[in-house]
Symmetry: C4
Subunit: 187 residues, 4 copies
């Protein structure tokens, strides 16, 4: 089977996730600056989560562009990744509402961590489905970038209880790290 429908379904899910978050930016209760500034923390987390989903879309695009064949395992690994990403609007809304608390930040880190692991799983499922393909065998070789982001996300789960703002800073660092797509897939 080709990658066509897997890509279009993933595009659909990612498109809905990214716009559902915008829908959670609830209308300010009045028309003054004070009411708007109440929405500011949520707006900032929205920017972060939009970048987060955007990064996954770009890398998912690159990963599947380098893929020729998919198996049932690839389909399930892809659904597993989409499951974790579908929890992003939930943690985004929670962090937006309680940005100075530790638990929402830690949960955001858990979901980010789960998404990262699911992406690795998808990469390895694709490698198994395309054993002779050179490009896909390059996919799995873990780079420093992948290890750095796993380390940052995992430590954020704990660090969020020291201060949620340390966790937020880690999320921003990982986002900047991944802004440039993976060289192995682009090359």
């Amino acid at each position: 089977m080709g990658t066509g429908r897997l890509e279009s379904f993933s595009d659909g899910v990612l498109a809905v996730i990214i716009t559902i978050m915008a829908f959670e930016l609830k209308t300010p209760i009045s028309s003054n600056v004070h009411a708007l500034s109440h929405r500011l923390p949520l707006l900032l987390v929205y920017v972060l989560s939009f970048a987060f989903i955007g990064i996954y879309w770009v890398n998912h695009h690159h990963l599947l562009h380098a893929t020729r064949l998919i198996s049932a395992g690839v389909m399930w690994a892809n659904l597993y990744l989409l499951f974790w990403l579908s929890l992003i609007p939930f943690v985004t809304a929670w962090v937006g509402a309680q940005h100075s608390a530790s638990l929402p930040a830690a949960c955001y880190a858990i979901v980010a961590n789960g998404s990262g692991l699911a992406f690795r799983l998808l990469s390895s499922a694709i490698r198994r489905a395309n054993p002779k393909d050179q490009t896909s065998s390059r996919i799995l070789s873990l780079t420093r970038k992948e290890n750095a982001s796993t380390l940052l996300y995992t430590s954020s789960i704990g660090l969020a209880f020291l201060s949620p703002y340390i966790a937020y800073a880690s999320f921003v660092i990982v986002a900047i790290l991944w802004f440039v797509p993976d060289r192995r897939l682009v090359a």
Copy 2:
């Protein structure tokens, strides 16, 4: 007519259904563990329903991959399947809110049952539209797996009134049964 647009429309509907449920995971009212644990039943039903829709997507993918031509009848059968699946977020939210009650669990079983029957209807409509096609004629031959899941879903409607947890257990068993896609279509 080819299957292209039928697949892309179905992908769109399934993508929205699967992410709309994530949207119903309402933000916990405070930032402590107690508030999060209040969302736990809904989170568990969400996992089940995500797997449920995921299984339909995978099998729909396999079914239409084995299909060459579609008729007006196939289009309507497909819309009928999407109708039943579109009720999943409704019963998911209800079960999540009232997980110890019997009626929501029974309604979930009814919707699951309706979806299963609609999938059989779609399979048979596809067989009629592709009469000479070997792959599609293999589709209809009911297997033990299909009969087992119909039996489990139908009995769940009644068993939910004994205890909703027996119904939930049945749903999990059917999900595990269908985790591996239909061998007739993959082969």
Copy 3:
């Protein structure tokens, strides 16, 4: 320009419209039959509106399957049709909440009427963009079915003030009329 992206955008909008309505089926407030029966009028209107959007999807599919070229005019006519269809969830929710009142039923008839006219406009825009195409010239020749549904929808606007249930009956009749797709396009 080909029809590819116009179809995929329309599929996306129709997929979201059809599932957004399911999202408005709010969770019953308790777990007994009484609470569920309170949702019954909305559930029935949902079935009607799902069929309504489904009919437009099927006929839109047939119409664009018979089309080769699109112009800027076709794009705008298509957006105009999607605009009217996007109001269906609004009138569906209103009728579901106030099913015994006249105004919501009349507004539903107005939106249904607007959608029907927009579909005719799209058909004629497509005919103008494909002047030499035989199939598309067959599109515009108004049939009795199109005139009957226009008559039924237009009269429903007024009849709703006599009794909303007469309007609902008209909607069901039109839905049955259009259940079988247009013979001119299928042939």
Copy 4:
């Protein structure tokens, strides 16, 4: 890389944005004309925003139709455009709720301005990715129409504090200006 998946993802996001706004047209609280007229300002802003997103879809369609290759830069520029457009439902709902206030109108102008600039950025990213392509080099040459709309949007941010209705009038003028797609891309 080709433009296929970029187009389908953008279609998905734009489809969700355009229908999410329809979802914010909350059901009138009763069934009389008075309750409906309360929804009128929101309905009018909805028409404006639907046209706004529709114009971007049409021009995005034209722009990418004239594009052969995409780079990582084009993908990010496209996501940046989608980010600004995803804020349209937020400002639409706010203007609909507080249509006589200045701040919501000014914020609408800011989002419209951000979208316009992001579209220019996307055009220039596409030109850089297709250096030898004649069509794409025509894209960047700023026309009077683009400058006029930038001027109108930028001045609207300030003028909204004089009267929000001047800002609304500017939005309508820009919408009419862009109704006909860019001649450079169609030709």
